[in-house]
Symmetry: C2
Subunit: 308 residues, 2 copies
């Protein structure tokens, strides 16, 4: 009885990848939207068809044996290849259709997302945006894996399998409590940072690193700087008199509106900024369409990042 090879189902491959990602059958089943027994059965089925065991079930949960990683990677590629078929189909509609999964870094999401979604709806009415907030590293990883279609983040993009185009320059302003000595009008030289207690985001945010760069350039030390978990939190700490912070221009309207207790002043010499980019998997069948979309929305996004 020859064990003629059988092709695994795409769904089965998804199950396998989900288990590998979560190292748990129950969690994987949950993510896949099926019951745990259904997933267990299918995974077992795949293992049988492939003639080897993909997971070690045992004490301390599930683990992936070394020899299985190649198979699981192949499964990821296969799933993406199948999805690419649908993308190739969408491509020649001339517009984006169906789910468009967009990831945005947390320091842009609240401020640029409305513009982004408005532009998407306007230019691609049949697209169905699905939004996620992730930090740069996770965002890039998920785009590479094909779990996300587009990313809005700050240059540089730490990946060589992603394509991207700049869509806006987002200048950093200095945010001060309204009773701070520097509160006032007009711009300040960046050098003033050297003498100020700058509040930073917690580690992992790219804005934190950019702010630290700005401080270093200005000759300011960031040792022992207090950390916040979001720009909103930072702003509240600033308005409570806890120091100053750097705020991207895109956030000004939301975070430093009149009555917020915050005053912002632009900086000069140098004038610090971050570059907002739209990114996608460069091998995606929709790469050209994403590029055109990025190109088209750049003015709107730049308008959301007021320049002085």
């Amino acid at each position: 009885m020859p064990a003629s090879r059988q092709r695994p189902t795409v769904r089965q491959l998804e199950y396998v990848v989900a288990v590998a990602d979560h190292l748990s059958f129950s969690a994987a089943a949950d993510v896949c939207g099926v019951s745990q027994p259904a997933l267990s059965t299918q995974v077992r089925e795949v293992e049988q068809r492939l003639g080897l065991s993909l997971f070690e079930r045992g004490r301390g949960g599930v683990s992936v044996p070394d020899h299985a990683v190649a198979v699981i990677d192949a499964a990821r590629r296969a799933i993406r290849a199948v999805d690419d078929v649908a993308d190739a189909a969408v491509d020649l509609q001339g517009e984006l259709v169906g789910p468009v999964r967009i990831g945005i870094i947390p320091t842009m999401a609240p401020y640029l997302l409305p513009t982004l979604v408005r532009e998407l709806r306007r230019r691609h009415p049949r697209a169905e945006p699905a939004l996620t907030e992730e930090r740069t590293d996770e965002l890039v990883r998920r785009i590479e894996l094909g779990e996300l279609d587009l990313g809005l983040l700050a240059a540089p993009v730490p990946s060589d399998s992603l394509a991207s185009i700049p869509v806006a320059i987002d200048e950093f302003h200095l945010a001060l409590g309204e009773d701070h000595p520097y509160a006032g009008e007009g711009s300040l030289p960046s050098g003033v940072l050297a003498g100020l207690p700058v509040l930073l985001l917690e580690d992992g945010h790219c804005l934190r690193d950019q702010a630290m760069d700005v401080c270093a350039t200005a000759g300011a030390s960031t040792d022992g700087a207090i950390q916040g978990t979001s720009l909103t939190t930072l702003c509240q700490m600033v308005s409570a008199g806890g120091g100053v912070t750097l705020l991207p221009a895109s956030a000004l309207e939301v975070e430093a509106r009149p009555g917020s207790g915050l005053v912002t002043r632009s900086l000069r010499d140098p004038r610090p900024s971050r570059t907002v980019v739209l990114a996608w998997r460069d091998r995606s069948p929709l790469a050209a369409m994403y590029a055109a979309f990025g190109d088209a929305i750049a003015p709107a996004l730049q308008a959301a990042c007021p320049t002085t």
Copy 2:
């Protein structure tokens, strides 16, 4: 009601590719081993899910509109990617398991196939060889597409997406009717070809081109040479006194055995030959295993190509 994107089935993709290949629903259904209505339904289903029509049904049969070729190519890639999962699994078994689809060019098949299959069975007892006889171009195309796993053919391999290793040197001998003036023992200088009516295979066989090269080098003309459809036919024509031909050493035992009415003499100055290579898709997960296999069987295949 948002038309949330749905993933096509691998089987559905196969149907689509089959229709594109045969430009006929009935023929495609036949190849896929299902009824025509079943295939029609599934193809329609795919078109619906992708939101576009992949084929023009109409007068004069089925045609593929320009815009659909990208999608169909993506489908081919997807199918191959899924198959690669199974191959990746086989790879780490340490041996070939399940179907191994091998293509051999017609001028090697009858003579080298037995050795090849014997070696495959010996080294990979759980492999299930499936053999096809194709000329070089078609062979290469089908390996590239993933329709074949291995190819046995003559160097050079006209593709840069295929890997290959030489497994034997197969010398060309001169085959003569046993009453031919040159019939005898020992070797002849290649130059004698210049004065002989050399029978060639019909166009499309690589051996024909190689033989013509040999003749050209020897200063012989091949204009108006008579053509045969197989080496066996050529040999029968030769033994009937219709001329001479070039015969690879691997074919000697079968075609020029005593009683065949054929005499063969080796050639020198130069000593013409073809290089037998084993080839595979270089991106295949099993590439390393194929290379090892080729390496391992080279001695046995060389033994099947007796050298003088």
